[in-house]
C-alpha cells in the first residue's frame, strides 16, 4: 500500500506540474463563469434604457401612461398617425427605439403593435406590454365602470395557475433541474475522459521508455496500476476542487457586484408581494418573466447534496473507467498503438452522456431505469435523477446504483489488473482484440 501511495504521489506531482493542468484549472472554470455570465445577461437586461414613441391619434391614453417615470423606459406621445416608413427613416424619429401604435379600435380589439428597430429583451417586451395594459385598464375603468381605479384594482386579483405533477406536488423536480444534473454528469465524464486519457498515455509512456520494468522490480503490477490511477485521480480531484472554488467564488462575486438585484426578494417571492402598490404589482408582473436560470443557479439546486453524490460517483466512476484506460494503455505495443482501442471507450462515454439526456427527457421510461443501474451510464444518469429528485421513499435506488457501480468497479479492477499485469511487459506487438481475452485469463 505504501508503494502504491508513493507511485500515486509521484503521478500527482507530475500531473499538477504540467502546463495543461494549470491551463485547464484556470480556463475551465472561467469558461463556465463566462457562459453563466452571458446567460444572466441575456435573461435579465433590466438596465437597458428604451425610448418609446406612442402614436395615439384618438387621444385614448391622454398623453400619459405611468404615474411616475420608469427608469428604463421613456415614453413620448405623438397626436397624429405616423407611417412606419416615416418612423423608420425620419430624422426626428431616429432617437426612438420603438413606436407603439395605439389605434382607435384598441378598446374593442385590445390589440396594439410595437415597431422596434432592435428587438427588445423579453423583459422589456413584458414591461411595455404591462405598462400599456395598465393605462388602458385605467381608461376602461373610467369609461365603463363607476369604480375608482384604486377600488377596481382592489377587486382585481390576478389568478396564478400552476401545473403540478400529482407525484411531485411541490414541484421539486423539473426539467431545468435535470439539466443541472446532466451538467454534473457531463463534468464527471469530462474529467473521466481527460484523466482516463492521461492514465492511458502515462502507462504507455512508462512502457515505451521501459521504466516500467524497474518499477515492477519494486511493486507488483496491480499496485503500480492502482497507484497510477489514484495519483492521476487525485490530480483530477484537485482540479475539480479548483473548479468548484473558482466557480463558487465567481458566482458569489457576480451576485454581489455585477448582478446585485438577481436575488432581490421581491423578484423571488411572488406570493408575498403587496398587490396594493403600483410597484408591487409591477414586480409581480415582471417576476413571471424572471430569469429562471438565475433562480436555478442560486436557489433551486441543492448544491451540497449534489456535490456530495457527485464526488462519490465521480470517484467510483473514475475507478471504473480509469482501470479500463490503464488496461488499454498496458496492452499497447507502442505509445500510439492504443488509439484504436480507446475509441470504444470514448463511444461508451458518449453513450453514457446520451443516456443522461435520454433519462432527462424520459425520466419514467424503463430504459432510463436500466441506465440508472448500468455501471457504464449510472454516474451521469444518477446525477440527472438526483437533480430531478427521487420519488418519496425511492432514494434507496441511488444507493443500489452506487453499490452496483462499486461492485462493477472492483470486478473491472480485477479484470483490467490481469490485462495490465500480462500486457505491461509485452513490447513491439500490434495489439489485437484477442490479446485482451488472452491476458484476461
Amino acid at each position: 500500500m505504501r508503494n502504491s501511495w508513493l507511485i500515486a504521489l509521484r503521478e500527482w506531482k507530475e500531473r499538477i506540474g504540467t502546463r495543461s493542468f494549470l491551463m485547464l484549472s484556470i480556463l475551465g472554470p472561467l469558461t463556465v463563469l463566462v457562459v453563466v455570465y452571458f446567460l444572466f445577461i441575456l435573461g435579465g437586461q433590466t438596465k437597458q434604457h428604451w425610448n418609446v414613441l406612442i402614436t395615439d391619434p384618438a387621444g385614448i391614453m391622454e398623453s400619459k401612461i405611468l404615474p411616475k417615470e420608469d427608469a428604463s423606459i421613456h415614453y413620448s406621445f405623438a397626436d397624429g398617425y405616423i407611417e412606419i416608413k416615416e418612423f423608420e427613416k425620419g430624422k426626428r424619429f431616429q432617437e426612438f427605439d420603438a413606436m407603439l401604435e395605439v389605434n382607435e379600435k384598441i378598446l374593442t380589439n385590445k390589440t396594439a403593435f410595437v415597431f422596434f428597430r432592435e428587438k427588445p429583451s423579453l423583459q422589456m417586451q413584458t414591461r411595455i406590454q404591462y405598462q400599456c395594459e395598465r393605462r388602458l385598464e385605467e381608461v376602461l375603468v373610467k369609461q365603463f365602470t363607476k369604480f375608482s381605479i384604486a377600488e377596481f384594482r382592489k377587486i382585481k386579483q390576478p389568478l396564478t395557475i400552476g401545473f403540478r405533477n400529482v407525484y411531485d406536488p411541490n414541484d421539486e423536480s423539473s426539467d431545468l433541474r435535470g439539466w443541472v444534473g446532466l451538467f454534473y454528469g457531463t463534468i464527471i465524464f469530462l474529467f473521466i475522459f481527460l484523466f482516463g486519457m492521461t492514465i492511458l498515455r502515462s502507462v504507455s509512456r512508462e512502457k515505451s521508455n521501459r521504466i516500467v520494468e524497474v518499477l515492477l522490480g519494486c511493486v507488483n503490477p496491480r499496485q503500480l496500476m492502482l497507484g497510477k490511477i489514484v495519483g492521476i485521480g487525485l490530480a483530477a480531484f484537485l482540479q475539480f476542487a479548483i473548479w468548484c472554488l473558482v466557480i463558487g467564488l465567481g458566482l458569489y462575486f457576480m451576485r454581489e457586484t455585477l448582478f446585485p438585484n438577481l436575488l432581490d426578494p421581491s423578484n423571488m417571492n411572488i406570493a408575498q408581494l403587496s398587490m396594493d402598490s403600483q410597484l408591487g404589482q409591477e414586480q409581480f408582473f415582471t417576476s413571471r418573466e424572471y430569469n429562471e436560470f438565475v433562480n436555478l443557479v442560486y436557489e433551486r439546486v441543492n448544491f451540497t447534496d449534489m456535490t456530495a453524490y457527485f464526488i462519490l460517483f465521480f470517484i467510483v466512476g473514475y475507478f471504473f473507467y480509469g482501470t479500463l484506460f490503464a488496461a488499454v494503455g498496458a496492452s499497447t505495443g507502442s505509445e500510439s498503438d492504443g488509439q484504436q482501442f480507446v475509441l470504444p471507450l470514448i463511444f461508451t462515454l458518449c453513450f453514457a452522456l446520451y443516456a443522461g439526456y435520454y433519462s432527462l427527457m424520459n425520466p419514467e421510461s424503463s430504459l432510463s431505469t436500466l441506465f440508472h443501474y448500468l455501471p457504464f451510464t449510472s454516474p451521469v444518469v444518477v446525477m440527472v435523477k438526483l437533480a430531478q429528485g427521487y420519488e418519496p421513499g425511492h432514494s434507496y435506488e441511488l444507493f443500489i446504483s452506487l453499490l452496483i457501480l462499486i461492485i462493477s468497479s472492483l470486478a473491472v479492477l480485477r479484470l483490467a489488473g490481469r490485462i495490465y499485469s500480462n500486457g505491461i511487459l509485452q513490447f513491439g506487438h500490434r495489439v489485437q482484440l484477442k490479446h485482451f481475452f488472452r491476458w484476461m485469463k
Binding site: N3, L6, I7, R10, E14, E206, N209, R210, I211, V212, E213, V214, L215, L216, G217, C218, V219, N220, P221, L425, F427, R438
Partner: protein, 319 residues
Amino acid sequence: MSYSLESNTMLEVQNISKSFHRKVALDDVSLNIHKGEIFGMLGPNGAGKTTLIRIINKIVQPDKGLVRFNGEIMTQNHLSQIGYLPEERGLYRSMTVENHALFLGQLRGLSKADVKLKLNYWLDKFDIQNWRDKRIEELSKGMAQKVQFICTVLHEPQLLILDEPFSGFDPINVELIKQELIEMKISGKTIILSSHNMESVEAICDRVALIHQSKKIMEGRISELQETRKKGEYAVRFRGSMIAFVNALWTGFEIVDKDILGDDKFVVRVKMRGENKFEDLLKVLIGQINIEAAWEVLPSMQEIFIDLVQPKIENNHAQ
C-alpha cells in the same frame, strides 16, 4: 528438503518452467546462487534469461517450480532486499536525479533521509555531485545509465540482479562498474549478472550458468568449466627464429596457431600428441629459442559459449 545445510545459498531456483502461449520460455530450469558470489547468467538472445530474471523478481509468475530467497519461498516482501537493473531500463525524463533516487529509494523501503545520505555517498564516489539537480533529459545515455546503477544499489540490497549492466557504458565506465561490483562482492553482496560481454563475465564472475533454448545446459565455476573444456593446448612466447622453433619440435607436438609479435618475437600454440606433457615441450625448446613465457591455453568464456551454443543451433537448422 532441509535448508539448514544450504545456508550458503542466497537464491535457489527450483525446476522453473514457463510458457507464453505454447512458446516455451523456460523448461525445468534450476540454479543455486551462493551468498557473496558473482554469478553470470549467459545465453544467446531469446534463451530465456530475462524471463528467468523476471520470475526471480516476481514480475512474471512461473507455470511450475519455485524460487527461494535465503531459504524462504520468495515473496513480494523480499523484493526490498533485491536490486534489479533490467536490460531495457528507463527513467522519467522530466525528473531530477535526486527526485528519481528519492522515488525509487523509497519504493525499495528507504526513508527520505536515508536516500539523501546514500545518494550523497554515490554522487561523491562517482564525482558527479553536480548532477543532483539535473533532469534526466539533460543527461547523456551513459550518464543516465550511471544514475540507473546508483538507483539500483542505493538501498544496499543483499542480492543484485543486473541484466546487461555494461551496455551503454564507455570502457572507462565499464571498468568503474566492474570495480564497484567486485567491491560489493567483497562486502558480502550476491550478484547475478546477465551479459553478452564475455570478457567482463570472465573477469568478475565466480560461477556461470548457460541457458540455451529454454534449458540450462551448463553451470559451474569458470575455472572448472575451462578445465573441463580445455583442448590440451599450450602457448609459448619466445624470441628467436620460427624455423628454429619448428625444427626443435618432433612428431609428438602439433602447431595449432601462431601470432607474430615482431621480427623475432612469436606466440605459438602447440597441441600435445600421445602421452607428451608440457614439461616435454619445454625440454625440447630450451636451448633452441629464448622462451619468455609458456602457459596452458584455457578456453575463454566466449569460446566455451560458442562451443556449447553453436552445435545446437546447427542441429536445429539441420532438423
